[in-house]
Symmetry: C2
Subunit: 156 residues, 2 copies
DNA sequence: ACCATACCGTCTAGTCTGGATTGTCAAACG
DNA sequence: CGTTTGACAATCCAGACTAGACGGTATGGT
């Protein structure tokens, strides 16, 4: 994930990666922001990222892919994942354990509707210039929010 | 989640909880098996579970809800979750970062089809005697596997 | 000059993860 | 009958991760 983020940015500080990730890939693959700092360090130590550090002030570290980093990323991309995603849904958990469906569904509908609106707005703005993969991932997100909305809507 | 599991079982050892969880609620809320042992202990210490330990042999610990445990569970059930689920999907991650859609989609279709078949078989067998919440959660799982299949299918 | 606010990185305690390890038991086998 | 085997069950450990607090740094406005 981190290699992908850096590749996508060209070069970036962990903080910038965090900002970008939070709005995009974070919707289906999250890590803690603190993790980005240690992970970049680790990848730099492993020779996959190149690290440049400011001397004064905030002493930001800026990272870019090395040749080895690009190779590792390409290798990863070329090995299609067979694993299914993991879902972690508090709402479904409550439903499973016998919560009253009505109020739960109402709460979930609201949340999912908000998320869907967010995705749709982003899609409307960005669909023409987003790289294919990113656009497709966003469209997957939209389709799934719609599906959740349908599911919870039927229960409300 | 653990309170729910214990309530559902009436009384059970962590090992039994693990077995049940792996086949059911584990599909949308997972924890490590080792975690069940520590969590049950913690809940017992907090007065929410009652612990009974075998003297000889495997020294199994059997847990059951206490009054306070049932109250805590009821309170949790009565507070509808507004949080959205979190998804963690390696396939989408690769797609996002520019992997070739074709082969990736093919791999994902296969995995999702298998999962869907598993869910559908379970549904066919159990739909008549499963508690409502559990059946609904299973139906949500089925709907979502179908949706994923549609998504990746269109890309393959 | 000063303040408010946003930016950015680091730290810590506690929790969780993955997997190995140790031990228990019942049934099958010679 | 003693032994072996494989499933059952609990525990342990090092390392990774989490949540969020904290402490500095920059910037624009007064």
């Amino acid at each position: 994930m981190v290699l992908g983020l850096v590749a996508n940015a060209g070069e970036a500080t962990p903080y910038q990666l965090k900002q970008f990730a939070a709005r995009s890939v974070g919707n289906f693959w999250t890590i803690q922001h603190a993790q980005l700092y240690t992970e970049c360090e680790r990848l730099a130590k492993a020779g996959l990222l190149d690290e440049e550090r400011e001397e004064g002030g905030r002493r930001r570290r800026t990272y870019a892919l090395t040749g080895a980093g690009r190779e590792a990323l390409d290798a990863w991309r070329a090995t299609p994942a067979t694993e299914l995603g993991e879902l972690r849904s508090p709402g479904l958990l409550q439903l499973f354990f016998g919560a009253e469906p009505g109020p739960l569904a109402a709460a979930q509908v609201e949340s999912h509707a908000a998320k869907l609106a967010e995705y749709e707005e982003l899609h409307a703005q960005a669909k023409d210039w987003l790289p294919d993969g990113q656009r497709l991932a966003l469209e997957a997100g939209i389709a799934h929010e719609r599906e959740w909305l349908k599911f919870w809507g039927a229960l409300a």
